[in-house]
């Protein structure tokens, strides 16, 4: 699936991550890495710890054990804000849009980190603040064009159908121009057509902007089709890691997961 993009060095390396909630083990001693520009999938049955894994990567959860190496910098855990500044952006399994705001405003929040003018200038909406606002508006309009959501620009997201909300959520993440994009089941609950659209967007993002993508997905056909490497979790443990073909033929995986699906 390499469209001329060069898969680079490891940029994110997770080493021996363990996460517990009270007495419940969500993740046990998980290690895997993500290379620059690749599409990396995390799969596994329900409750395998996939979402927890993403939450560890961008700092929503703090693992009790383990090390995260991002761009050569070693740390025990991430701070959510630091993760955002370092270039992580993310979508959620159950859409986490700002429901009271318009599509445009939702996407503009993605630019927030890059907006520097202080709030007094914003209150006056004057000079640098106005120029900055307009410059970022232009960027956001590019994302709107890219995702083909021009017609709903000013609609409050709460009123949009599910499929479009998912797309807007991707847009908000893209507006941040992330280095690494974390997608938590971007195609869940979509019909075939919507899934195809979403696949196309994911591949285009990866292709055009070279964005590294880590995604969780249930649809095996999609995962096998678009990802470069796949890591498989089951009951909070890693049971396989490799190219789609390797994973497909792994016995543990077949037993734990694919066996049920086929």
């Amino acid at each position: 699936m390499s469209n001329g993009r060069q898969i680079g060095e490891v940029i994110l390396d997770l080493q021996n991550i363990s996460l517990r909630f009270g007495g419940v083990k969500a993740l046990t001693d998980i290690s895997f890495d993500v290379r620059e520009h690749e599409i990396r999938a995390i799969i596994g049955p329900n409750g395998a710890g996939k979402s927890s894994m993403l939450n560890v990567i961008n700092g929503v959860y703090r693992p009790q054990e383990g090390t995260i190496v991002f761009r050569g910098k070693k740390r025990h855990d991430m701070d959510t804000h630091e993760a955002a500044e370092a270039g992580f952006a993310r979508t959620f399994q159950n859409i986490a849009l700002f429901k009271g705001m318009s599509v445009l405003d939702n996407l503009m929040t993605g630019r927030n980190l890059k907006m520097k003018s202080n709030f007094l200038l914003q209150a006056l909406y004057w000079g640098p603040a106005q120029r900055e606002e307009l410059a970022h508006r232009r960027k956001v309009e590019e994302v709107i064009d890219f995702l083909e959501i021009e017609h709903i620009r000013k609609t409050p997201v709460g009123r949009l159908p599910y499929g479009l909300q998912k797309r807007v959520e991707l847009g908000r993440a893209l507006a941040a121009e992330p280095k690494v994009l974390l997608l938590d089941e971007p195609m869940a609950g979509m019909n075939v057509e919507e899934k195809q659209d979403m696949c196309r967007f994911v591949l285009d993002v990866n292709d055009h902007f070279g964005t590294t993508i880590v995604l969780i997905e249930h649809d095996m056909a999609v995962v096998m089709d678009i990802s470069d490497r796949v890591v498989v979790l089951d009951y909070g443990k890693k049971i396989a890691d490799g190219t789609p073909d390797e994973v497909r033929n792994n016995e543990d995986v077949i037993k734990a997961y694919l066996g049920v699906a086929h």
Binding site: H81, A84, G100, N112, R138
Partner: protein
């Protein structure tokens, strides 16, 4: 002139980002401003100016303050009146103790004092949400009123903390007549309302709403919850503080800490709920509604004559306020501002049904 946006094409994002993108809206706003700046002082009676217009404006400002905190940033507060008190007493002390202090500067400093106090009482919002926070803001309400009463320094050793606002003088002109006080209040409120409108439509406002709608997602996108929430408390309290200073200087003249009690805080909250949560326009509508309603009830009681039992009017007021809050929360949670919006949308299509 029909209310239409058809034919008004935006050639640049700059035009699309205007505060009032529809031309008819701009004309309407200009007319409204002209009416309040020129018409009202010319036609309105002294009672209307001093007894209705000035308090409506001041409460609008306080309601904008609470709306920023509650409507935009989603942090419920039951202590708005206490922050007004901080503003009133701070302005009084700045004018009293700093020789030659210009009154408008004193108002700004008063707002800043209120902002600082607001941030202190906003600290718990970093760990708690919803009604837990509401309880925490009650601490501010009771503590501030108590402190202003008990520490005589604040009221320059007057009995039970009563202060009398000094004369309002700007560049040698003394604001004594209701017209002058009204225009001063209107000026301050117009400027601050405009600034508030700009804030809520730029990145700080989007951060507030993001925290309100989905705090985890906001954090993940890089919005700092602490910074954003404390900013909301500071800006909100600043508005309440300036409103408090105006309350003392252009409305009542003489105030005491007890006047800024929990009941007043509730009233401001009601203005926000009835006017429209998350709407600057709604803050004005809500304030007008809450100020006018008791007057209206009183007049209708009088018209009913002598057989109305004593004290019914004030109880009726409680019942009507309470009932309206429940009614609005059920039927129109976005308040009068939403009704206004619906009216405009209807007008946009008029005379066609769809």
């Amino acid at each position: 002139m029909l209310y239409r946006e058809a034919g008004q094409f935006k050639a640049s994002y700059k035009e699309d980002q205007q505060i009032f993108p529809i031309r008819q809206d701009r004309i309407a706003i200009a007319l409204i401003l002209a009416f309040f700046y020129l018409g009202v002082p010319y036609f309105a009676s002294q009672y209307w100016l001093q007894g209705i217009m000035i308090p409506v404006l001041i409460f609008s400002l306080a309601a904008i303050g609470l709306n920023i905190l509650t409507g935009y940033a989603g942090q419920l507060s039951l202590g708005s009146a206490a922050f007004m008190a901080v503003g009133a007493f701070a302005a009084y002390n700045f004018v009293l103790r700093v020789p030659g202090m210009p009154i408008l500067v004193a108002f700004v400093l008063a707002g800043l004092c209120a902002a600082a106090v607001g941030m202190v009482f906003g600290l718990p919002s970093l760990r708690i949400k919803g009604f837990y926070l509401a309880v925490a803001t009650l601490a501010a309400q009771f503590f501030i009123v108590w402190a202003l009463t008990k520490f005589p320094w604040f009221s320059n050793h007057s009995s039970s903390g009563v202060i009398t606002a000094q004369k309002v003088v700007i560049l040698g002109y003394v604001f004594e007549t209701p017209e002058a006080k009204y225009l001063l209040t209107l000026g301050v409120v117009t400027v601050l309302a405009l600034l508030a409108k700009n804030m809520v439509r730029s990145s700080i406002g989007r951060s507030w709403m993001a925290i309100r709608d989905m705090d985890v997602a906001a954090e993940v996108i890089g919005i700092r919850p602490m910074h954003t929430k404390l900013m909301a408390f500071a800006v909100s309290s600043f508005y309440c503080g300036v409103a408090g200073a105006l309350y003392a200087y252009t409305y009542l003249g003489t105030v005491e800490p007890e006047g800024f009690n929990l009941d007043l805080s509730f009233r401001i909250l009601f203005m926000v709920i009835i006017g429209g949560v998350g709407s600057i326009m709604g803050s004005f509508l809500g304030a007008a509604f809450i100020v006018l309603l008791p007057i209206f009830l009183n007049i209708s009681m009088h018209m009913l004559g002598d057989w109305v039992p004593q004290g019914l009017a004030s109880n009726l007021e409680l019942i009507v306020f309470g009932g309206l809050i429940i009614f609005f929360l059920i039927v129109e949670p976005h308040g009068l501002a939403r009704l206004w919006q619906i009216g405009k949308e209807k007008l946009r299509l008029w005379p066609f049904p769809h």
